[in-house]
Symmetry: C2
Subunit: 471 residues, 2 copies
């Protein structure tokens, strides 16, 4: 970072940030226009509203100087906008956001109309309340405003920029693969910037460095050819529920490690620098677990709570069923019993191999007449960003400049399907840096976005765009 930024950078950047500060009210007014459009993708009755939101984005970006259009799919359209004023040698950033929102139900829990956004006072100053305030319209517009400021002050952008807005993120992105395939050439870029995640806390920005992958499997243990009376057959007849619990009860050893063969092969330890940075986050596992009625981290012994959450693979039974489930008792030995499992995976683990090895784990524990059948329901590898990725260094610099402290380098225990889609369809890595807060109530009544987060988000995006120019 020494030697950067130069004087020209500093003067322009200062003016860009000043422009954002001076135009905050106008920025909010533009956001409110978008928030008033009830673009609920899950509800067919709102299909026209979704399209109206897409058109608003297209027109807004066109007015700012982008070349913008809708990209039709078999579902709701995407919005694609490009500004290549930075010239062919400049880095090419693909920004991703979504213009659709969650349904607003239950309406009676809202303190104001979810599609009539309000500014109200909160403990951290003013906040925007409305469906989509942060997820994802507020985040998208804060990025638009960063672009607007660069364009107003310098007449262009520091990087080549392609903006992709999806219209079906809140209903499972059924057309995203189609959209990415159709637009593969247009979307060719150096990396993806996604603004749909949270800060670590109100003072501290965050970059999501890793997502866990997923392998889902279902196993059914088959015993007798029909349900049996547990009196007339009990003792001599194999009971598939007993067999299933016996097998799955062996899934973890006494140290909390998963006993599936080769499960940890390829799993890298947390990089020491990352582990060090986590120690500075002040994560309190007891508080985190206390909110859901628990106290003790239940994962692998010797792994920190954050490593258990973000960096270590898991084996969770998500559902189990067999035999009688009604009131009282029924003396049955059922013909079969089933469990559904997901394995959260980290980079280095091959989801298909995990599923295969789970089969082996079960098969080598089958006894007597028990048989097993399997269904494998989904598989996605884990994802991680190298701390050495060039855009990482740029992003860390920009965020530190804006917030006066380093970004938290966090993990996410879950998958974010779009990240996998960008990797699969475009071959691109994704930088996840957003400005929401954990208490923003996304998907819930009274969704909000702190005005300060919207504002600092725009300023941070402006710095990020500038920083990416230099990597």
């Amino acid at each position: 970072m020494a030697g950067l930024p130069g004087l020209a950078y500093s003067r322009d950047m200062k003016n860009v940030l000043q422009y954002i500060d001076d135009n905050l009210d106008a920025s909010l007014a533009r956001l409110f226009t978008l928030l008033r459009i009830p673009s609920i993708s899950a509800q067919p009755a709102h299909a026209a509203d979704c399209r109206a939101a897409a058109l608003w984005a297209r027109d807004t970006l066109t007015e700012m100087g982008f070349s913008a259009r809708l990209s039709e799919t078999s579902g709701l359209p995407g919005v694609i906008a490009q500004h290549h004023g930075a010239g062919p040698g400049a880095p090419h950033v693909l920004f991703y956001g979504h213009y659709d929102v969650q349904p607003a139900d239950p309406l009676n829990l809202w303190h104001s109309d979810p599609f009539d956004p309000q500014i109200i006072e909160g403990p951290r100053g003013k906040r925007i309340v409305g469906r989509g305030a942060v997820d994802d319209k507020g985040q998208v517009v804060s990025f638009f405003e960063a672009c607007r400021a660069h364009l107003a002050v310098t007449g262009t952008l520091p990087v080549r920029l392609t903006i992709l807005l999806e219209g079906e993120e809140e209903c499972g992105s059924p057309s995203l693969a189609e959209l990415l395939t159709n637009e593969r050439e247009t979307l060719a870029a150096d990396f993806v910037l996604v603004a749909d995640t949270n800060m670590w806390n109100f003072e501290t920005p965050a970059i999501t460095m890793s997502l866990r992958g997923l392998a889902a499997s279902e196993v059914t243990i088959h015993g007798p050819s029909r349900d049996l009376h547990s009196g007339l057959y009990g003792g001599i007849a194999l009971n598939p529920i007993n067999a299933l619990t016996r097998i799955l009860g062996d899934l973890h050893d006494d140290q909390g490690s998963v006993r599936i063969p080769h499960f940890y092969e390829g799993v890298a330890p947390v990089p020491p620098a990352l582990a060090e940075s986590w120690k500075t986050l002040g994560f309190d596992a007891e508080v985190f677990l206390g909110e859901v009625g628990l106290h003790n981290p239940a994962g692998e012994h010797g792994q920190s709570p954050l490593a258990q959450l973000w960096a270590r693979p898991t084996a969770d039974i998500n559902g189990i069923y067999g035999g009688y489930q009604g009131d009282g008792t029924k003396t049955v030995i059922p013909a079969e019993a089933t469990a559904k499992l997901t394995f959260r995976l980290v980079p280095g683990q091959d989801p298909a191999a995990i599923q295969k090895n789970f089969e082996h784990f079960v098969m080598e524990r089958l006894r007597l007449d028990a048989k097993a059948s399997f269904r494998h329901l989904g598989a996605a590898p884990g994802f991680t960003i190298s701390m050495d990725a060039p855009f990482m260094q740029a992003a860390q610099r920009a965020l530190r400049d804006e917030f006066g402290k380093p970004a938290a380098l966090v993990g996410c225990g879950a998958s974010i399907p779009i990240v996998e889609a960008f990797k699969t369809h475009l071959g691109l890595d994704t930088l996840l840096a957003g400005f929401g807060l954990d208490d923003d109530a996304i998907h819930s009544p009274n969704e909000k976005f702190e005005v300060a987060c919207f504002h600092r988000g725009a300023r941070a995006h402006a710095r990020l765009l500038q920083a990416f120019a230099g990597f």
Copy 2:
């Protein structure tokens, strides 16, 4: 047995048996009259038919010389009949049967009207086909005909006899406790004779020496206070399904023995004479299990298949559920998971202690934040007849005399609630000796009773009554 029967016994007995042989057609005609009454206790529309069957029994027994009456309950009436011609010093036998039958559905699978009984030819000669042919009208009438023969030949019965017919056996005996309580003094006897079980095979009678008891328990493992996302919490949060399988997977050791503390305390080994007698039965576990798609006895190592079925306690999970059970996958760590278990018990095991010790078994395996709650749903001790019981020796002698070979001394892995009720309410042991066959299709379409079984049943009952006089 030496010294018995004396000459008088032999001559009377011969005449009694001859009477039965000579009157077989009339006996069948009387049975058919009862079979034509659709006394389906589970169906309120047949309440009058049930009462008609009770009245038929009362009147039939009255005509034979019994003092007979209905005994009203809050449900269907019982029938009580007494003949004490044997005098106050004679043994007092309580005979139990039931006059109600199962519904006949599905009607389309019957080859004839279930309530228009037929005699048809089968591989073992003539058979009676109709609902109730064996269960229990055929068995009851074969006993009545034995009494009729004694009364016709000798003018009295060899023992004091009380007959109790229940009208609700096929719908769970809801009023039996009331009936036994109301009639406790009338029903005071030396033991109960129940004719509602099967022979070992067509050539071999059987006495059921033991029934297993039952303790039913439900355990729920509680984890987080609400369902959690398995990505955002997986690894750090206790998963109650994982915990439940881990605990219940430990229910049996590698030898198939139940690991609940003190589980086998008080369990007596199979008496050597009984174990020896089982070896002569020709039980083929592979055939028995093969009929339900299994091959290998799954119980305790070192116990014979029949011991696993009849004489050893079990721990079967009858139902399990938790988390997601629908199609596909759901990434949930549920708040709780539940299993329903029954323990089949043998004499010497205290059902309440087993339930308590099961709680201990679970509690001592709980880890971290897991909590457990329990419901105990039913408990009945196991039951056994001593091979030395006086009525046992008499019964064995009578059955051997009739069939020319010893009765099979069998167990039953299930409970028979009436046996428990007689013990609880009247303090009486029960002799279970009936003349049905396993292929009689009770509770199913085309229920049948071999005429030979009906006939030999009547002869055997006549011998049993005589034999009981001498114990």
